[in-house]
């Protein structure tokens, strides 16, 4: 039972990381607090669902279309964010809140309010190993999330482009003085964010029912992990995602499913009380 909780916690945590990375990247580089993040994930899920269910596309092939759709919306959103005046964080909250409502109602109009699930029979089967059970769905979630995290980690820590992105997150002015085009970094952050959203959406549709108003839960999760990690700390996001995933998984086993969301809230409050600079905040000055 405990091993199952551990594996499922890491699997869930890895998916949370995937969800939070896009939000944290856009917020870190552009200071735009995108409250429509969750709605975009749900929208990508719907695109995938529709292609898979109505047009009978293989599930894997729906990912590129979902990514393309979110990419177009995110680039449009970036144009709107670019017109905002200071204070950027506050103004972007107002703008993206409006966008979230717009996307929600568009989804309600196009896809109705019915609950939808991408139910792939193979993914519900699983491996019965000594001491624990792992469904192919969880395994796929774990594999895809870890692959994306690894690719992003290599991009951010091993390439000049990634270092330029991290530098822009930490000090935009100093980054520009090092010859980095911070406007291009903003566009790049939105593009990377859109790709992450486009990947997360279909996966979300596999493990969670899709309905137009579920986006705010995802946004809240992304905000929680970003605060947990400390803005601009990619390593912190990975750690925070796994801690949250494991905590939720163990809470379900120990106290029941109703405690799952409570755990995230308690962890966030505890962190804000004891480590307000984020989970890896000790090196800061």
């Amino acid at each position: 039972m405990w091993t199952t909780a551990l594996v499922s916690g890491i699997s869930l945590g890895s998916f949370y990381i995937l969800i939070a990375l896009g939000f944290a990247l856009i917020f870190g580089v552009t200071r735009n607090f995108n409250l429509a993040h969750g709605e975009l994930v749900v929208f990508a899920g719907y695109v995938s669902y529709w292609l898979w269910k109505v047009w009978a596309w293989p599930f894997v092939l729906t990912f590129p279309v979902a990514i393309l759709a979110t990419l177009l919306i995110c680039l449009g959103l970036q144009r709107l964010f670019a017109r905002l005046c200071e204070p950027l964080e506050l103004n972007s909250i107002v703008l993206s809140f409006g966008m979230a409502i717009l996307i929600q109602n568009t989804m309600l109009f196009w896809f109705s309010g019915d609950y939808r699930l991408i139910r792939i029979p193979t993914l519900s089967q699983g491996l019965h190993l000594p001491g624990f059970y792992l469904s192919y769905g969880q395994l796929t979630l774990l594999f895809l999330s870890l692959t994306v995290i690894a690719v992003l980690y290599i991009l951010m820590y091993r390439t000049y482009l990634g270092k330029a992105l991290r530098a822009t997150i930490q000090d935009k002015g100093a980054a520009a003085q090092a010859g980095i085009n911070v406007a291009v970094m903003g566009t790049l952050a939105f593009c990377l964010g859109a790709i992450l959203i486009g990947l997360a959406g279909p996966l979300y549709g596999c493990i969670h029912y899709l309905y137009p108003s579920t986006g705010h839960e995802i946004t809240l999760l992304a905000i929680t992990i970003t605060i947990f990690a400390g803005v601009g700390r990619l390593g912190g996001i990975i750690l925070a995602g796994w801690i949250l995933g494991l905590a939720e998984s163990f809470a379900v086993i120990l106290f029941g499913t109703s405690w799952r969301e409570m755990v995230a809230a308690v962890l966030l409050l505890a962190l804000l009380a004891f480590k307000p600079r984020g989970i890896l905040g000790k090196g800061e000055q």
């Binding site: 520009a176 003085q177 090092a178 010859g179 911070v182 800061e284």
Partner: protein, 247 residues
């Protein structure tokens, strides 16, 4: 030195902060391989001048000509790509990146020269070579200052603009930085300094300007300026009357 080619010319520069007219018809020129210092009282326009040259502030009127081309309309990163690098007065390192990563970001536009620039930087600031893996946010104030200048050097500049380089440094670190600045000049890099540490800044300067109310009030060599009665009265006036020397 004056017979050398001028690399930077500032012509009739006017810069405003909102309604405040900070630089008023300011003119100056800088030749290659000089150490040029700008001194002046608080609010005289030293930092504004450096920021306008670096592309951070947009002048209302006037021209900034660098290597015979006007650059006053370029953005900061475009100015850097032309070899003109500004190091601001704050110790703004990238705190969650290692010292080496900070230097690599400095070499973003000069990647092919990274190895050469790193050896130059370690020759001038050997202390940084011992702290390559340390997070930049955990360095001391003096070390952060060295790192910001070293990061500027990594961009392969022709002209390095240093805003108040001695700000917040202990005397020992300030002396070390003075030596480093003289060393940087030997690598065909022109230095343009501004700041409040008048004596230090003028002692290293081969050419200097006194800025008063947004205009150049005096020009000369560093030593000439240090002995000039107007500068002594303007910047050391009150202290000179009491007979106390400013360190």
């Amino acid at each position: 030195m004056e017979t050398q080619r001028p690399i930077l010319k500032v012509c009739n520069l006017n810069v405003h902060y909102g309604d405040i007219h900070v630089l008023k018809q300011l003119n100056l020129s800088i030749c290659a391989n000089q150490i040029v210092s700008v001194v002046g009282a608080n609010g005289s326009g030293k930092t504004t001048l450096l920021k306008a040259v670096a592309g951070i502030l947009r002048p209302v009127q006037g021209a900034i000509i660098y290597h015979h081309k006007q650059i006053q309309t370029l953005s900061v990163h475009e100015v850097v790509r032309r070899g003109l690098v500004y190091v601001s007065e704050g110790m703004n390192v990238f705190p969650f990146m290692s010292v080496l990563e900070n230097l690599e970001v400095g070499a973003y536009i000069a990647r092919e020269k990274k190895k050469d620039r790193l050896s130059l930087v370690f020759e001038i600031f050997p202390l940084l070579a011992d702290k390559l893996r340390q997070m930049a946010g955990t360095l001391s104030g003096g070390q952060k200052r060295m790192l910001t200048i070293a990061r500027g050097l990594m961009s392969d500049p022709d002209l390095l603009l240093l805003d108040d380089p001695f700000l917040g440094l202990a005397p020992k670190d300030a002396n070390r930085l003075c030596d480093a600045l003289k060393q940087i000049r030997r690598y065909d890099i022109t230095l343009f300094l501004a700041g409040q540490h008048v004596r230090r800044i003028l002692r290293v300067a081969t050419k200097a300007f006194l800025v008063e109310e947004g205009k150049i009030a005096l020009a000369g060599t560093g030593e000439q300026m240090l002995g000039h009665p107007h500068l002594r009265e303007t910047l050391f006036g009150i202290v000179a009357e009491s007979g106390v020397e400013i360190p």
